[in-house]
């Protein structure tokens, strides 16, 4: 039935939206764990304080991290060309992300298994790296996607990447990395304010307010840079066949420095998304000041969602532009998997995602309540 209701073009649009939802889901759930990791050396001075911070995410980071795994799987299934190109192209950057993310699960689980100061300090560093490095690199990846990445396809559609790791670490990309880092630090601080008690929550509020302001300023600055054409832009110049075959070699794309603003020009109401990307972090900053932790956390979530959505909306219908062979860029209408796979995966998502959200909500409800030095000391070695 869905087969007849949803044509190929519509399914591609839906999967473009779902790609955004997955990235946002990852950033608002696993994002706060990474933010807590990045904040760990700054908000917690004593071992008990560190355990308070770690145990606010202790029971949930594992589930949150599945958003990352699912993101990888869903990109593989729905956008195989993007999966093939981005992870092989950003090879060493991806390795750094994996390296950092491998340290995280072990850091959470193993830190409390021994009492030695050196042992715990080493795992604190692992958790810091596991939080801060991916947060930075994900932003760097987005910064590169906005500028275009040097790649082309052979006529067998073999992806050939022409850049280097140091090419990825250019100033504009690092700027985006800072936006991402500030954003996730804000989110981690908001979570700590919501879930921790005592000095950890106080320090988190102070850091969070700064991070939220920096997020708003940097994100607005990013908008100005795009307006100035610093990031460049790519525009599809051939006729788009929304239900055409997924072959990125069948279109023409032009470099046009005002292209990333085109969608907002033609649909001005879309500007509400980037505006909220500025307003929501400001709201979070105010929330940190007023110590309204629930509101702050919601504002932080909204801010992250709007920042990520802004990037997607600017680039639409392009997903990953090629700086050296613009015609080979990946676009929503020519980089997806087949009609049947998009349909099958949509059915799976519609069935399972609500179930996942339901039991995740139940788990958070069971774990409801603040973590404080008293609860940690009472729980002894039964917590991290």
């Amino acid at each position: 039935m869905i087969q007849h209701l949803l044509d190929y073009g519509t399914l591609r649009l839906i999967w473009w939206g779902l790609l955004g939802i997955l990235l946002i889901g990852f950033a608002v759930s696993d994002g706060f764990d990474m933010g807590v990791g990045a904040l760990l050396p700054f908000v917690a001075k004593t071992d008990t304080e560190r355990r308070v911070a770690i145990n606010t995410v202790g029971p949930v980071w594992e589930g949150n991290q599945v958003w990352f795994i699912l993101g990888g799987g869903a990109i593989f299934a729905a956008w195989p060309a993007l999966y093939a190109l981005s992870f092989s192209g950003f090879y060493l950057a991806m390795f750094l992300v994996l390296f950092a993310l491998i340290l995280r699960p072990v850091g959470f689980k193993y830190r409390s298994k021994r009492t030695s100061v050196a042992w715990r300090r080493n795992w604190d560093w692992a958790l810091f790296v596991g939080g801060a490095v991916p947060a930075l690199i994900f932003g760097v990846a987005v910064g590169n996607a906005l500028q275009g990445v040097p790649f082309h396809f052979t006529d067998d559609l073999r992806p050939i990447y022409e850049g280097t790791l140091f090419g990825l670490l250019n100033p504009l990309a690092l700027y985006c990395g800072l936006v991402s880092l500030a954003m996730l630090v804000m989110h981690g601080a908001a979570w700590l304010g919501f879930k921790a008690e005592g000095p950890v929550a106080d320090r988190a509020a102070a850091f969070g307010a700064k991070a939220a302001l920096i997020t708003a300023v940097l994100f607005a600055g990013g908008g100005v840079l795009i307006w100035l054409g610093a990031f460049g832009g790519y525009q599809v110049t051939s006729t788009i066949a929304w239900d055409g075959p997924s072959n990125p070699l069948g279109k023409t794309v032009a470099i046009n420095s005002s292209a990333w603003l085109q969608n907002f020009r033609s649909m001005p109401w879309l500007a509400v998304v980037p505006l909220l990307g500025i307003v929501a972090p400001l709201l979070a900053a105010a929330g940190f000041g007023a110590r309204r932790s629930g509101l702050t956390f919601l504002a932080s979530k909204l801010g992250i969602a709007c920042v990520i959505a802004t990037v997607g909306l600017s680039m639409f219908p392009i997903i990953l532009p090629s700086s050296t062979s613009p015609n080979d860029s990946l676009a929503v209408f020519d980089a997806s998997s087949s009609h049947a796979t998009l349909r099958n995966m949509l059915i799976a998502t519609v069935v399972f995602l609500p179930i996942v959200l339901a039991y995740t909500a139940w788990v958070y409800k069971v774990l409801w309540g603040k973590v404080s030095a008293t609860t940690i000391e009472k729980a002894g070695s039964s917590v991290y």
């Binding site: 589930g63 991290q65 991806m94 298994k113 799976a348 996942v356």
Partner: protein, 525 residues
């Protein structure tokens, strides 16, 4: 042509990370179910010793579990990082089970595992038991989806090559889900995981019994592990996935190579129990043959023939010839998408396109291949016979040895009399065997599929990313270093937890009752 060193390094990296990952996964599979069973007994009987068993084995489960998770992150992204052409070529089919694994299984497992550890005082015993079963269910469903993906690499059903998108696309998703190869693999692999769990609990319990510590606790664990182990090891052996080796030409080639069957024998074929396969002369020296057995286990019949290597190579030669027709038509279609004659020609020959690609190892344009190159390509479909012959035999040997250990353990624990000490030494010393068997099994499955990455569809040497050798060397060294350090740390923590014993989990809840129970039981031992 792709750089052969790049291909070999990519394969090495995948083998290292996958085999390392599979040190932790089978224990997660087995222990999750064993722990859930222990907790079920606790909830049904209310006897606290079962709760303490749940918590202690759960603690060890947790130390192992995080490394399974950490190394699994690498696996999810490695296809895109190191095997970009593969990812493009088959992502339409292969990506789906990976995504569904995350959605349906890994979310379940990972969301509830936090509650398993942190939720003891926050919910009723029944609710906690449900949480534990969700973890076990999640990890087993994970295995199902991963093996559907792997099963498709061995037997790529329900998909065809689309010349407009230059990749394989799904035509029958249900066939991919119910792929008989995937089902055989799922049952075999999950049972192997249960064997690992059982051998682990059996070994650690034997250690306590030999030390005279936690006797009551260890004896109960020993019994449940022995019983579970008998069931699991029987299942691994009886439901061995050899039955899946009769479906495709290349699976048949794998079977022939495992058994060093050079020539086709009249059915039912004999089984070569021992021999020295010779890749140059294409014979097996000093072969000791047992009549009928091969035909029976390979085909589950007495009248079906199992083709030998020579016949399969001849078949491959025919498929290369047919594949060249497909390759030729595809080249024409690349130049002109509207070429109707080429489209028709491609539609009738595309099933063999992969065989023409085998020639790319010898010549850039397969259409210009010489007859010698075609013959070489056909012979390249034979994997290394001696490696497969011996790894397969050791895997089987270990499987039967483990079944024997579980049976003897169960037999002694069912009797009234005291079990002899050698039994516990045996249980302790054989507990690495299931891991060896599992790694050997994966070697047979994956090395035996060579030269294909997707059986009959895409040769491995074409499937890599276009990476620099330095990048690959750097990441291989990096992964080896991180994984090495983590292995040492993990082993240290496991040993520490085992040495501290079940008492160490005492402050996870009220443990006093158990200490009292032990005080009563110990003098009677």
């Amino acid at each position: 042509m792709t750089n052969p060193l790049l291909v070999e390094l990519s394969r090495l990296q995948f083998a290292l990370t996958a085999m390392y990952h599979f040190l932790f996964v089978p224990l997660t599979l087995g222990l999750s179910v064993l722990v859930a069973m222990m907790e079920t007994v606790y909830v049904m009987t209310g006897r606290t010793v079962w709760r303490d068993m749940t918590k202690f084995w759960g603690l060890l489960f947790g130390i192992n579990f995080v490394l399974g998770v950490a190394t699994g992150i690498t696996m999810e992204f490695e296809f895109g990082m190191n095997w970009a052409f593969y990812s493009h070529y088959v992502g339409d089919i292969f990506g789906a089970p990976l995504a569904i694994e995350g959605l349906m299984a890994f979310f379940l497992e990972a969301t509830f595992v936090g509650l398993f550890f942190f939720g003891w005082d926050r919910m009723s015993p029944r609710a906690h038991l449900a949480v534990t079963w969700m973890v076990a269910l999640g990890s087993n469903l994970s295995a199902l989806w991963i093996l559907i993906a792997n099963g498709w690499m061995q037997n790529p059903v329900g998909a065809v090559f689309n010349p407009d998108t230059m990749r394989m696309e799904v035509t029958d998703f249900v066939a991919v889900l119910f792929n008989p190869t995937a089902q055989a693999k799922f049952v075999h692999t999950v049972s192997a995981g249960y064997v690992c769990g059982a051998a682990f609990v059996l070994g650690v319990s034997a250690f306590y019994i030999l030390q005279g510590r936690y006797i009551e606790f260890a004896k109960r664990s020993f019994v449940i592990a022995a019983a579970f182990g008998v069931a699991a090891a029987s299942s691994v052996i009886v439901l061995g996935d050899e039955s899946g080796y009769t479906i495709t030409d290349n699976q048949k080639m794998k079977l022939a190579a495992m058994e060093a069957m050079w020539q086709t024998e009249p059915a039912p074929a004999s089984f070569t129990a021992f021999g020295i396969p010779d890749m140059q002369a294409h014979v097996t020296h000093f072969a000791i043959e047992i009549p009928w057995v091969m035909g029976l286990i390979g085909t589950r019949s007495i009248d079906q023939q199992i083709p030998g290597i020579f016949d399969l190579v001849k078949r491959a030669e025919g498929r290369i010839a047919n594949g060249l027709l497909a390759y030729d038509a595809l080249e024409k279609l690349k130049k002109n998408h509207a070429d109707a004659a080429a489209r028709t020609a491609f539609a009738t020959t595309r099933a063999d396109l992969g065989y023409a690609l085998l020639l790319k190892r010898y010549v850039d344009n397969p259409l210009q291949a010489t007859p010698e190159q075609v013959r070489d390509a056909a012979w390249s479909t034979v994997p290394s016979v001696p490696s497969l012959f011996f790894t397969f035999r050791f895997m089987v040997l270990f499987g039967f040895a483990l079944l024997a250990v579980f049976l003897v353990s169960l037999w002694y624990t069912m009797r009234e009399a005291e079990a002899p000490r050698w039994l516990f030494w045996l249980a302790l010393s054989t507990f690495p065997l299931p891991w060896l068997a599992a790694e050997l099994g994966w070697f047979v499955a994956e090395f035996g599929r060579q030269p294909w990455i997707i059986d009959g569809v895409l040769p491995t040497f074409l499937a890599t990313s276009e990476l620099g050798i330095t990048d690959l060397v750097l990441t291989i060294v990096g992964f080896t270093a991180v994984y090495g350090v983590l292995a040492v740390i993990e082993t240290g923590l496991m040993l520490q937890a085992i040495k501290k014993g079940p008492d160490a989990v005492g402050d996870m809840g009220s443990f006093g009752e158990f200490a009292k129970a032990r005080a009563v039981i110990t003098p009677a031992e």
